[in-house]
Subunit: 305 residues, 2 copies
């Protein structure tokens, strides 16, 4: 796959630009015969907005997943997959939890999620990345505007826009605890950023992203007639968002943490090539070398109970 | 006034505590004969919540005040009354704008404001402090939870809770541009904080407040069954908030600035004594030495037009 053309150049010491997306958002269509699949109306919403919120969709998963994550915090102490807040020792992220938890591994293959993912991507999918994000009460820091795809393209070599992020709210996500802000419709545009990626940029960017953050002028142009929307809902709400949706989040000064469990599904027809930055591959917990198609599981409950 | 008892000790190297408020919130009552006065219902809301939002109350003032503030930014360049953002040179605050602007001086004595202030305080009032706060788009920083009264008591010697803050929204204040977060009902409690005030603490605290910020445990106890409310509204909305209302704000990652013009009115029966910190007085632009009762003006328009 050497020599794959770079259709979405960024951080190549050029000027910042906005250009049209060259790929579909939804690769499949309605499949009424497939259980747990999305309606054409939901697919159209996802196509137009770049995200879909399924309120209170999996409330029964919250308690067992939270118990499992509490266990992982202890069992994984000292692991490289754990990241803390920029200004404190407070746990911010657990990467690759599926590798250390049968429940989370099986949950990532729940047909209620996986059948929708396959439908959006129009193909089988593999789990490119997974994480638990915890935004602590009072001191959770903000995250600037960015498109995940921009990073995955430049730093991981994801060639096209054919990946979807799915996340479950583990606590209520409210207007006040640093919710995800998104720009509906922004995924139709590609923001090519200034700068040049340094080696091991992820060690910095996972704490505080500096590269791949569009400048105010670019954000103004992108926002144009679009607004900002907060993605809020009660614990158990499931969210799908396109890989190129522009998003960010303010800090959390409320007294309740904002926690989510996130999976990034990439199409098996969109496997990474040599990173367009020319730099070495990022660690396995950021771009999973296991790219076998996921198989749906029938039931979680023997493990979740 | 030496020897005034300290009814609200804080930063005296003790443990953090919550104690009941010892003063009324509303000192006066309904005065149907006074133009622009508040109804008993509004007064009751203010008493219970600690704040009152008058949506779209003074839309005609927005444009002339913004023009005036643009002028002040230039005319006051280099003045000590100007404060910038902690991490940049962007203008954050203009203190004492009434001293440099006839329009703002007269606006602070608009009977639509002043008659309500007198009613709440049950007395004449003087202008203890005034400022323009600008929270820039994309990079406006958050402000942690605090009660203004705690600072004014410790650092300025304000003896009792008998002051009210009034502010006009100069831009739309939305859920997304770093709005004021308040805890309705928190003004009925006094949070005594840990720490000890250093000399010229204001030089730090006006950029990033460290002292007078209750610890998470105290905030949990204070929040108890209360929630967090965002104070939002369109430009021209007027807000009254009690001096002891616990408030803070998240950072502004949106593309529109949040700007307000703020006045702090203190009762002439509540004039400052020697600061309870024992430290020297803060500058004139933080606690105004001119404590003569304000006289309402009849009309702003010769100046505002």
């Amino acid at each position: 796959m050497e020599g794959t053309p770079d259709l979405y150049p960024s951080r190549v010491n050029g000027k910042e630009t906005l250009s049209p997306r060259l790929d579909p958002v939804v690769y499949g269509g309605a499949q009424p015969e497939v259980p747990h699949s999305l309606s054409q109306r939901d697919l159209d919403t996802f196509d137009r907005q770049g995200f879909l919120v399924m309120n209170d969709y999996m409330p029964e998963m919250v308690a067992p997943l939270k118990r499992e994550i509490t266990r992982l915090r202890d069992d994984m102490a000292g692991y490289e997959e754990l990241y803390t807040e920029p200004d404190s020792d407070e746990l911010r992220t657990i990467f690759k939890p599926f590798a250390y938890s049968d429940l989370i591994d099986r949950f990532s293959r729940d047909p209620r999620i996986l059948n929708k993912v396959r439908q959006i991507l129009g193909s089988d999918a593999y789990l490119m990345q997974s994480r638990v994000n915890i935004k602590p009460a009072f001191k959770g820091k903000s995250f600037p505007w960015h498109s995940d795809f921009e990073t995955w393209h430049v730093e991981d070599g994801m060639p096209r826009m054919r990946a979807v992020t799915v996340w479950l709210m583990l606590t209520d996500n409210t207007e006040h605890n640093g919710p995800l802000y998104v720009i509906p419709g922004s995924h139709h545009h590609y923001a090519s950023c200034e700068g040049n990626t340094g080696e091991k940029n992820y060690q910095q960017s996972l704490k505080k992203q500096m590269l791949g953050v569009p400048k105010p002028e670019t954000m103004e142009a992108l926002l144009d007639d679009k607004g900002i929307a907060s993605v809020t809902g009660q614990a158990g709400t499931l969210v799908f968002h396109d890989c190129n949706l522009m998003h960010g989040s303010p800090d959390n000064i409320a007294n309740d943490p904002r926690s989510i469990l996130m999976f990034v599904y990439n199409s098996v027809e969109n496997k990474p090539v040599t990173p367009f930055s020319g730099l070495p591959l990022r660690p396995h917990y950021l771009s999973n070398p296991d790219q076998r198609p996921l198989q749906a599981v029938e039931s979680l409950w023997p493990l979740a109970s």
